[in-house]
């Protein structure tokens, strides 16, 4: 369960570049919830993710994940229970290390003891990695000794997804993780994502520019503007929404037209 209480963040306070990136954000996600966030550029979507992962500390409010207050815990500590996928498929994996080594790093989260520092990847772990890779159906299980830098963007993103969910995270954050892929690969990665989330009952927040995805994926839709959540629909209210409804809701709540080409083109 994720609880975000009155979280605010201002970048460059007191300068001409001052920007209130998050403004009194309140958000509660129950276990197994899957919320999709839409909003124009600069609305604070990625900033919200960075607040959750600990890329910076928030100015006000608090963040509680799985009953634990993580507002001031360090980035590497809280990332033990958070899965994070970026839009850029190159960001999630180490290019000069092999697929196997990358997976071993992701699997480090599972080990709690410090003795594991000096252990090597065991044969049973290799077998496990192989099984998981074969689920991707990309032939990666036969390329485990190859450096990740040789894989395509889609393959790297699928691998990153596998690594982020290898140890079931308390929350999975997807920051437009299919936006940089070609349409066919994007569909494949997206269906893999849906499958994993459904099978493992993972709590998930996903950013998208695709209005169709915003209404069909998961069980909640959130719209953000100027660092605020302007619209949050779940249940029946959401089931009855159309894209045009959503745009008019935005106009109503944000007091302006949604003018983001990427979003409007995806209509």
């Amino acid at each position: 369960m994720l609880v975000i209480e009155s979280v605010s963040k201002t970048f460059h306070p007191g300068t001409v570049n001052e920007k209130r990136a998050l403004d009194q954000i309140n958000l509660t996600l129950a276990d197994g919830d899957f919320a999709v966030i839409v909003g124009s550029n600069g609305a604070g979507k990625s900033t919200l993710f960075n607040a959750i992962t600990g890329g910076f500390f928030v100015d006000e409010g608090r963040i509680i994940l799985g009953g634990e207050d993580i507002t001031y815990s360090k980035e590497h500590v809280r990332s033990k229970v958070i899965g994070h996928l970026f839009q850029d498929p190159l960001k999630g994996t180490a290019p000069h290390m092999t697929i196997e080594e990358n997976m071993a790093l992701a699997y480090l989260r599972a080990s709690t003891s410090r003795h594991a520092y000096f252990s090597r990847i065991s044969t049973s772990e290799k077998r496990k990695f192989r099984e998981q890779l074969s689920l991707l159906d990309m032939g990666l299980e036969d390329r485990m000794k190859q450096p990740v830098g040789l894989l395509s963007g889609g393959q790297r993103q699928a691998l990153t997804l596998l690594m982020a969910t290898m140890v079931t995270p308390r929350i999975l954050l997807l920051d437009e993780h299919t936006a940089a892929l070609d349409p066919a690969t994007a569909d494949k990665v997206l269906s893999l994502t849906e499958k994993m989330i459904a099978e493992r009952h993972i709590t998930c927040l996903m950013i998208t520019h695709n209005m169709h995805q915003a209404l069909t994926l998961g069980n909640q839709t959130i719209m953000m503007d100027s660092g605020r959540i302007v619209f949050h629909a779940a249940g029946n209210e959401r089931n009855n929404l159309t894209i045009d409804n959503l745009l008019s809701q935005f106009r109503l709540r944000a007091g302006k037209q949604l003018n983001d080409d990427k979003i409007l083109l995806s209509k």
Partner: protein
Amino acid sequence: MSSLFTLSILQSALELGCIYSLVALALFLSFSILNIADLSTDGCFTLGCAVGAMVTLSGHPYLALIAAVGAGICSGFITAFLQTRMGVPSILAGIIVNTGLYTINIAVMGFSSNVNLFACDTVFSLAKDKLPFSWYESWYKLLIVLAVVLAIGVFLAWFLNTRLGLSIRATGDNEHMVRASSINPLFMITVGLCLANALTALSGAILGQYQKSCDINLGTGMVTIALASLIIGESLVGKGSILKKVAGVVLGSCLYRIIVALALRMNVPAEALKLVSAIIVAVAISFPYLKEKYTFFRKRQNNRALFRKEDGTHVSH
């Protein structure tokens, strides 16, 4: 060629190559793997030699190596502490530590700028006494340094494939990934720099016992020389497993010493060697960039020639 290059010259070049290869391996860790230019290398090398020499002087040549490693770890820790906990940029942290080490090194040597070990036992003289085979007689120094390098090389290859080693490699390879996973990059940089400086100091201590002296200026230019060895090694081996890369670095260091020995035989003054290393490093590092520039230049030439032939358009430069 035989008059130019005798067996004994080859032998001493290999001995020095093996000893200095530890510094090249240290830079392999900090420069190639962690992606940090650790400029405290020069001072740390002298620190290892000074600490080693003083302990050897008191009659403990083996303990000297351990003490040097300890001193190297401390030096690496301070460099790492400055950049991970104090917000000092990594290059500056190395320069600061390097400057401070000059005074420390002088102090370690009892406020004198050199120490000689001619009267006391070293690991080399002890080993020579213990195993007096006839064939061993002239090769014992090389055998000892080979054994040390082999042990360190195997250790590094093992270490970099443990989970801690993998985490250190990931820290230098993809910052975003490391931040999104549960690895603490600051801790990894600290461990990496401590290990790297331990190797640098060990190299200094072995060199001190090898040449039976220690001088305050011993480490000057060491970082450039080690980088030259590292680059030669990496271009020899290219891509491959960690063990292969480690072997390449040692090979590069030996090759560098052979080049130096040849240059000395051809009466190149010893003072010129630092310039030669500097040129090797500058050329090797700028080579990929220049290659790209050259490819673009050729493409532009061809392209212009094509259009000039077609319609005689004058191209502005």
